[in-house]
Symmetry: C2
């Protein structure tokens, strides 16, 4: 397990963490000033700044891109919607390639249009991933399926366990040619009694493409926008990081905090200072 | 799979569903008037009415008790707390026996006192269950471990998957002598890709002690108190009920809705009418 005390070069800041305060150029600048090693922009942030400009700013700042947020959302109520989603994912892959992103983070998508058919949604996700995987491979941008916490199953992401994400990887890439893997976010997976085994399984197949941290607030006041800063919540982050690194992961550790009541309201400079401090001490 | 259209005798109403409007005697009376077959009181409701009085009212009304809510909460920061929890569970078992309850619903408990050690909490749960199981067996009240949705892992219940609950059953009762099983609540388990397999596993061992229904609201505005009425949410309830009944369950179907913004504000008579209608048509 790596000692992070002097390794801010391993810290990547997810752009959502200060999205209410800074646009992408300021985030890039802030990450560089604080000595962070990477950044994970969101596509809407790219659109404001322009992908070409963003790519240049990030490169000039010497930052790696731990992942582009986000692709996926592959469930849809009709064929036109599914095709539009696939096309949009191809564009996301191209943007990720322009940024030299280490992966495209993939959210499965929820139950489409009031459906209750989870199995149908799962099939749509698998078929959608199969449709875009060749483009991702050609572009050199691996797809990182991120299982989201089960509380998002209905409206955001119907792939909620690491075991499910890895099942998808194995079915879509049975010979392990690569191009598809998982993003492991402690916020989404920490409760799972099968987590250690699934991390090991992911590592053995070389499928851990990203590792994200934040913390689980007690009480959680909002399902989406109430994540805690690392160290302020219930998750034993070092334990999970240890398992992920034991499994062979040696990439960036991405900090991603959605927090409408707290961190999004604070001065972004202060947020980056605290992110750095917590990264060095409690991650 | 049973046809519920004319089987209100299979409907048990969980006392929480109308707790803001009615005390236990009114709930018993309401259930009887509407032709429901059962009721599931909460211990705080028993305390107000008196367990002896409640038992008599329920018996006189011809209602079955699908379960007593609730035992468990077996995690604690120190030995005194753990012992107090075990003693309290013994009292809960005695109350359940007085009511002729078909099970005592067990919530594991969350991470005690700011702990982040999930494994330690899991061990406490297992040891606590082991400590009370003999009393439950002697009293003829089976313990029904209810896996709660993973969003409650930190503060309420660290057993969040049916597979985990069944692992506990198998370790605590390896020779399947009985006295311990699971309560399956669609609200807590619907997202799980392993659900069908785990329901079958539970059924094979004769461990399905209770089956609860409500629905998952989109969006969910509160982690605890925003459940939907059956038919108004994302869960394919008949599908899950079919699996549970295919696995051999032939007991009551308990309706349990926590809903501070909607159902708790409505007239209780109206709630029971709608519960009955939905039970007959969409459960």
């Amino acid at each position: 397990m790596r000692d992070l005390a002097d390794r801010l070069d391993l810290l990547a800041l997810n752009g959502a963490t200060v999205r209410e305060r800074w646009r992408l150029p300021e985030i890039v600048d802030g990450c560089a000033r604080h000595g962070f090693g990477g950044i994970a922009p969101w596509r809407d942030q790219l659109q404001v700044t322009g992908t070409g400009t963003a790519a240049r700013l990030i490169r000039d700042a010497g930052l790696r891109v731990s992942g582009l947020c986000r692709g996926g959302l592959l469930t849809a109520p009709d064929e036109a919607g599914r095709r539009a989603a696939i096309d949009d994912n191809r564009r996301a892959i191209d943007e990720a390639a322009q940024l030299d992103a280490e992966c495209l983070v993939m959210l499965a998508g929820g139950l489409p249009g009031g459906s209750r058919d989870l199995r149908h949604a799962w099939r749509q996700v698998e078929e959608g991933l199969a449709a875009i995987l060749p483009h991702a491979r050609a572009a050199g941008v691996p797809l990182a399926i991120e299982p989201l916490h089960p509380m998002y199953a209905a409206d955001r992401c119907c792939v909620n366990l690491l075991s499910h994400a890895l099942d998808l990887c194995e079915r879509l890439d049975p010979e392990n040619q690569g191009g598809i893997g998982v993003a492991i976010d402690v916020y989404h997976v920490w409760f799972d009694p099968g987590l250690d085994a699934q991390i090991a399984r992911a590592g053995e197949a070389g499928r851990i493409l990203a590792f994200h941290v934040s913390d689980w607030r007690v009480p959680t006041r909002d399902l989406l926008l109430d994540r805690a800063m690392m160290g302020d919540g219930a998750i034993d982050i070092p334990r999970i990081r240890g398992r992920v690194e034991d499994a062979g992961y040696d990439g960036l550790v991405e900090v991603e905090i959605f927090s409408q009541h707290d961190w999004w309201r604070r001065d972004a400079e202060e947020v980056l200072t605290i992110v750095a401090e917590r990264f060095r001490t409690v991650v």
